[in-house]
Every structure is written in structure tokens, then in C-alpha cells.
Point group: C2
């Protein structure tokens, strides 16, 4: 019996994983994990997700260098969402070059981009 057996993966074998920045508490991103990704994350201390678009393990930072070091893993009451406390290397989690993926805020009936691009994505994914 492993702690992995307590996690209720969905019909596709996935759970949502929230990356929250240590210190600031900012939500950096939400991605998905399968059992293998979660096991590797816990074993290595680096965030590993399952890329639904590419249908393969996605070791966060493998292309961008924006690795996430995991300080803590939490599970919710329904055991179907994982919360990671991470340190974000380079201070950029989003593929758009922003600190967080949640850079749009609802204002007056539209989504406004309220956080700056810190680095040109073309410079990140050379």
C-alpha cells in the first residue's frame, strides 16, 4: 500500500496539480499529473506533470529551464487535487513569460491582462 493509492485519479488517470509559490503564496499554474508524474515529483523534489497535449511526462523546466523545486505536497479532502508548494527557478512559471499563468483579471466584463511579461517567450524557448 503506497500513499499513491490514496490519490483518486480520474477516468483518464489524472489529477489537477496546483503550483503555489513558497513565500509569496502566489498561484503560479495548474497542470495535470498521472501516477507516474506524482511519484517522480515526490521522489526527485522537482515538479513533473503530464502534458495532455503532448501525451507524455513533462518535467517542468526541461525546455525553459524554469524548474520548480517542490517543498511540500498536499492532498485535498476528496483526494482528487494535489497542491504543490514550489520554488520557481527564474521567477517565471508561464509559457507566456509571466510569473504566473493567472495574469488575466475580470474587470468591467472583460479579461484584462494585469501582469507583465518578464521575458520574451522566444528567448525562453530557443
Amino acid at each position: 500500500m503506497s500513499w499513491l493509492d490514496d490519490v483518486r485519479f480520474d477516468a483518464d488517470g489524472l489529477v489537477p496539480a496546483i503550483a503555489q509559490e513558497a513565500g509569496t503564496g502566489r498561484i503560479l499554474m495548474v497542470a495535470w499529473m498521472n501516477r507516474e508524474a506524482l511519484a517522480e515529483t515526490a521522489a526527485t523534489g522537482r515538479a513533473v506533470y503530464w502534458s495532455r497535449s503532448r501525451q507524455r511526462l513533462w518535467r517542468k523546466g526541461e525546455e525553459s529551464g524554469h524548474v520548480q523545486t517542490v517543498r511540500e505536497l498536499r492532498l485535498d479532502c476528496d483526494a482528487d487535487v494535489v497542491l504543490l508548494e514550489v520554488e520557481q527557478l527564474g521567477g517565471i512559471a508561464c509559457h507566456t513569460g509571466r510569473h504566473s499563468c493567472f495574469f488575466r483579471r475580470l474587470e468591467d466584463g472583460e479579461w484584462r491582462e494585469v501582469d507583465p511579461v518578464l521575458k520574451d517567450p522566444e528567448a525562453i524557448y530557443r
Copy 2:
């Protein structure tokens, strides 16, 4: 064209919604929203989710009294996750009577309950 059209609901018409506490930055819970829940949340300023188990709108706090007042709504880069900044009435988001649903932490290969029950669930759901 509405801001709701920018949101990419999944095949079931749902998006995950993260409730983060204003001030503390704590992640309180993750639930799901359909278009109607998201529209009502924005219109009323109170968090409304879609209950997958009950297959109906779930106005958070309707039974427990633990209403969430929404201060801000954000959308991620893929437009498929919503982040709510909320004030949690009663300081309890979880149906177990805890502040947050993420009360289990991975320690030495097992999930340990690390946050206290603040109120007996039987007293909450009378």
C-alpha cells in the same frame, strides 16, 4: 460576445475553480464551475460551483453558512482554470470542518493530517 465565451470549458462543460483566501493566500478548496455557475459568481459576488456529485448548482454556504465572497476572478493562460480570491465566512471552507480542504501533507511516505478540525461537521450540517 461575452467574457464567458473566452473560457474554455471541458467536454463536460466544466472548468476547475480554485478558491484562494484573500489576505492569507491560503488555498481553501478546488471545485468545478459550469458556465452558469461562473456567470452567477461574477454577477452576485458569491462563489457558486457546479456539484458533480449532485449534478446541480452549489451555492457555497447554502447549507453550511460558509459563504465565500469573491473579491477577484482570474483566468489562466490556457483559459481553462479559474482562480477566485475570496473571503471565507466562518473561516471554514472544508466539509470536514477545517479551514482548508488541503489538510493532508505528504510526510515520510504517507499523507498526514496536519490541520485541525475547527468545527464538528455534524454541527455544521444540521
